[in-house]
Each structure stands twice: as structure tokens, then as C-alpha cells.
């Protein structure tokens, strides 16, 4: 039997979350800025129509936003993750099989459902009514075709948020209208190469005769995308998520840092963030990297510092990792510069149960692991940074993130509930 897959995707998810308690922003342009209020990372349809580009630096569009009454928000992740959880649970509760794909999109396996399009419409209106988040649904036999269907579901007014591309006839029409760069997984670089082969639309790729050439120029992935467009399943449902090979955490400071202590605190925080992610994927790391640099847009003297250390024994213990990072800073820090950005990277991963023990050095004991588990649990329940290493500092003024336009934590804090008079 032919597979039926649906991709459900929240429309400008972060912006929709912000609109939930701000009905005055309905049909108005809204954007959400990246960490530290750097650049636009989410835009409503209205903001896109005004010409605000994805990733536009805020300092460049600030005046434009003010003149055009664009509502601007800093990221409010406690709100977004809570709303995302509600959407995903609604999908899980109401569909036969769900693959959570990202914070705002999921694949549904609707094979065997009597009327997949009707099912999708009902599910879509349930999410809209129960949670208040508008979504688009694309129904098709393969994941790549789902993405195509979803693309049109979001853009067509008469589709009512759902587009089904189950017949080849409809697929051909849709693919002929989709520029090659908008095909899932193709990317900008590859789309330029494809155009040189005369592949301008998704349809051109589907009907391209020379599969060897596609494979040679765009690897197995390119060929898989072509096959998926032809209706052959290459990306399985619920494929296991691959663990990351490195974890990086870096920030640009709102001010500058010109003392070693503050830099250590900032980097300790980045290490803490990265180590948490490391433990979440049950890995240990062999290598710690730190870097910090001055502002390249300034005319003052530049400094870019990079240091890495290999560990004898892999670890996921935040405290040990911070110690390594601090010794690297001690070794490499140069006085007299104003640092603008810093970061930390963990790499060289092995699974927690597959590394070789070196008897001369200390590996993570059960006690240390328990401490980490306990810390992660407390921070999960009580909020980030409730329990942290003192190396992370108690006063985060120097390097704290800018979040000037953050909305209240409506759904995750008793003190910030929305008020109805």
C-alpha cells in the first residue's frame, strides 16, 4: 500500500506564540529577534510582505520597524517550548503515529487513515482552537513531497491551511511551480549548480534523466531527494535521531569584557550549557575548545584567541570541563583588549558506556554522575541556572544577554500570568 505522510508545521511559530496573548497583533507585522537581540529569526506573513529579511540585523531595521509599527520581541523560550509541547501532545494524542521533527513541525504517518485530507483539516482546527496556534499541513506519499505540499498550504489562501498532493497529476503541477532552491534539503549552493544543469524547478529535478550525474554532483542525499520527489520513500518515518558530533555555545556580549574574571564567568556559562546538551545525548567528550575575540567592526587593535585541550579521560562533568576551560583561559588570555564575543565547544564524543578506561587518570565516578543528574533535574524543574557552578559568577551584568523586548512567561510562571479584568 502507498504511504501517506503529513507534515504539520506551525506558521511563524515564535510570532504566533507572541500573538497568543496579544490579540491586538492579529494581522499586524511581528518579528522575534535572536538571542541578544541580534537579528530577526521569525517573521509573520505581514512582516515578510514589508520586506524584512530572515536574519536581518536589528540595528539595521530598527528605524524601519518603528516607522511601520512592526511589533518586536526578544526570544521567550519558556513560552515557546511550553506552547510547542502543547501542540505536539495534541498531535500525539490525535494521530496514529507522530515523528517530532523540530520545535514547530512534525510528520504524521496517516497510512491507512480513511480520508487523510479531512483528518488533517480536523487536526489543524483542533490545534488552532485548543491552543491558538495556526498551522499548515502538507499531505503526500513522501517526506520531500510533504514539504512541497506544506509550502503551498501556507501560501495559498483558498487551501485553508491544508494541501494534499496524493495524485501524480497534482504533484506535477505543484512541482512545476516550485523553484529548485525552495526544495527541502537542496540549499543555495546546490541550487546554483543545479541551475547550471538546466534544473530550475522541482519538476526539472524529478524528471532529470541522468541519475548518475545527480549522484556524482549532489551525493546520495541529492539522489534521495530526486527519488522522494518521484514518490519513492527514501527518508524513513521515525528515523533515529543522530547524536551531534560537537556542541558549541557562543555569544556576542552586549558590552565588552576587558578582565579575565568576567571572561571566565562567561565561558563557564557556555560550558555549562554545552555540557547539559552533552549529557542529554548520553555522550562524553574528549576535547574542550574555547575562543574569544575583539569586535572586528572596530578600528582598535584586534585579538582572536583560540585554545583547545584534549582530555585523557572523556567526561561529561560540568565542573571538570569548566576547570579545563579556565586553565585554557589562564594560558591564552591577553591583557589590554576589549573582547566582544566568546564561545566554548565540546567535541570528540564517545557514548557513556563505550570508552576505554585509563587507570592513571580519574574517570567520572557514579557519585559525580549523580550530582550532574541531580543538578540537571533541579534546573529543569526550577528553571535554568538555579543550580550552577560558582565559576559561572553570581553577577552576570558584564556579559548578560540583551533581551529588551521579552514578553512575560505567561504559561510557565505563576507571577507572570496574563490578567483578564
Amino acid at each position: 500500500m502507498n504511504k501517506v505522510i503529513a507534515l504539520i508545521d506551525c506558521n511563524s511559530f515564535y510570532c504566533s506564540c507572541e500573538r497568543l496573548f496579544r490579540p491586538d497583533l492579529r494581522n499586524k507585522p511581528v518579528i522575534v529577534l535572536s538571542n541578544n537581540d541580534g537579528c530577526a529569526i521569525a517573521r509573520t506573513k505581514e512582516a515578510k510582505e514589508l520586506g524584512i529579511k530572515m536574519g536581518a540585523p536589528y540595528f539595521k531595521i530598527k528605524n524601519f520597524c518603528e516607522q511601520n509599527n512592526v511589533a518586536v520581541f526578544s526570544t521567550n523560550f519558556s513560552l515557546y517550548t511550553n506552547i510547542s509541547e502543547r501542540v505536539m501532545q495534541t498531535l500525539i494524542r490525535n494521530s496514529p503515529e507522530v515523528e517530532l521533527y523540530s520545535i514547530d513541525e512534525a510528520f504524521l504517518n496517516l497510512t491507512g487513515v480513511a480520508d487523510p485530507e479531512l483528518f488533517s483539516r480536523e487536526l489543524r482546527s483542533k490545534v488552532l482552537r485548543n491552543i491558538g496556534i495556526p498551522t499548515g499541513v502538507g499531505v503526500a506519499p513522501t517526506k520531500v513531497l510533504c514539504k512541497v505540499a506544506n509550502h503551498f498550504a501556507k501560501r495559498s489562501d483558498k487551501a485553508g491551511g491544508v494541501v494534499s498532493l496524493m495524485s501524480e497529476k497534482l504533484q506535477t503541477i505543484a512541482l512545476s511551480r516550485l523553484p529548485i532552491e525552495d526544495v527541502w534539503g537542496v540549499g543555495r549552493q546546490n541550487s546554483i549548480k543545479m541551475k547550471s544543469l538546466g534544473i530550475k524547478t522541482a519538476l526539472d529535478l524529478r524528471d532529470y534523466k541522468n541519475e548518475h550525474l545527480v549522484r556524482r554532483m549532489f551525493s546520495v542525499i541529492g539522489l534521495k531527494i530526486k527519488h522522494e520527489l518521484m514518490g519513492i520513500n527514501c527518508f524513513e518515518f521515525n528515523e533515529p535521531i543522530k547524536n551531534k558530533k560537537e556542541i558549541m555555545c557562543s555569544r556576542t556580549f552586549s558590552g565588552v569584557i576587558n578582565e579575565k574574571k568576567a571572561l571566565k564567568e562567561a565561558i563557564s556559562n557556555y560550558i555549562s550549557n554545552a555540557a547539559l546538551k552533552l549529557r542529554q545525548q548520553n555522550s562524553l567528550c574528549h576535547k574542550v575548545t574555547v575562543f574569544f575575540r575583539t569586535n572586528p567592526f572596530n578600528n582598535s587593535e584586534q585579538s582572536y584567541v583560540y585554545g583547545e585541550e584534549k582530555l585523557v579521560n572523556p567526561t561529561c562533568n560540568t565542573l571538570k570541563l569548566i576547570k579545563v576551560a579556565e586553565s585554557l583561559i589562564d594560558l591564552k588570555y591577553q591583557e589590554g583588549y576589549e573582547y566582544k564575543k566568546a564561545g566554548a565547544k565540546l567535541s570528540g564524543f564517545t557514548g557513556q558506556d563505550e570508552f576505554q578506561v585509563n587507570f592513571l587518570d580519574d574517570t567520572d565516578t557514579e557519585e559525580e554522575m549523580n550530582l550532574m543528574r541531580c543538578m540537571d533535574k533541579i534546573n529543569y524543574l526550577e528553571g535554568d541556572q538555579t543550580l550552577k557552578s560558582l565559576s559561572c559568577g553570581t553577577d552576570d551584568k558584564a556579559w548578560r544577554m540583551n533581551r529588551r523586548f521579552k514578553s512575560p512567561r505567561y504559561t510557565t510562571s505563576w507571577n507572570e500570568l496574563y490578567t483578564f479584568d
Binding site: P23, D24, R86, R129, W414, L417, F420
Partner: protein, 166 residues
Amino acid sequence: MTEQGAAEKILSTIDLRMVCVYQYRMEILEKLDSKQLKPHWLPLYSGELACGLFGISEDFIESYLSLDEKFMKNKESTFFVRAGGDSMSPEIKPSDILIIDRSIKPIHSSIVAIFFNGSAICKQLLLTGTSRALHSINPKYPDIQITESDEVQVFGVVIGLARDFN
């Protein structure tokens, strides 16, 4: 001999089925011990027991009553908001926590959290014939008739409230 050891010895002489029951009981007790405060459903053995020693405590092993379970029928669509003014007093007082279930369809006499012409208010919905009105329980406030030119968006139906006496 430990309690479990003793019990197992007695049970082994009686009936294999009883051993299973006992072990299951142990699992349940461990669960309660580990202070899992999440509401969970504990299935109880309902067959007749031949042995008096283990029959008596059957009724004890039920979970705590949970307010979540009672008031959050649909966890995903349940939102908490705070009451502001006194227009719904005495039923609703300022700073009460209102429990809203967005999955419930508002009907006549539902109490709703509603966005009305730009303000967020809590009112009782009156639907009679073709007329639609927002009623304040506090008699100091007159009813508001909803007309076509009004901008109305129901956030959700208020299904209950929580009040902290402290």
C-alpha cells in the same frame, strides 16, 4: 528473616498465584516510596484472596487525589490566567487564578475569558435568541451588548478557579 522473606515463605507454601500478587504489591509500594508525586493510575488486584494477611490493606493502595486530574481534563488546552477587576465579584475576586480550557465550546451562561475591543475581560456569556451579551455578575456593572462592529475573540471558557487565602 526479613518481612519479604517471611512472606515469600508463607506464600510459597500456599499458591503460586499469591506470590505474583505479593510481588506486584511490592512494586506498588516501591513506587509510592520513591515519592512519585505525578498522578498515576494504580491497577488493583481484584480477585478474591484466600489469605487474610494480605487482604486487609487492599483499600489503602489508591493514589492521592489530584487537582490536576480533576481540573485538567485536557492538559494541552488548559491555561491559567489571573483575574483582575471586581466585575465578576463575588464569584470571582481579583487575583484569583482562573482555569481555562480552550477545548470547551462556549455556550449560554459560560464564563469566558474574552478579548473585547482591545481589552481582556472575564464575563458571563448570555446567548438569547439573536442577542449576544457579556454579563457581569457584580450588579455595579451593566451588561454589554455585542454588536457587529465589536471586535470579539474568545480566549477560552473558564472552568474553575483557584484562590489562595494567604
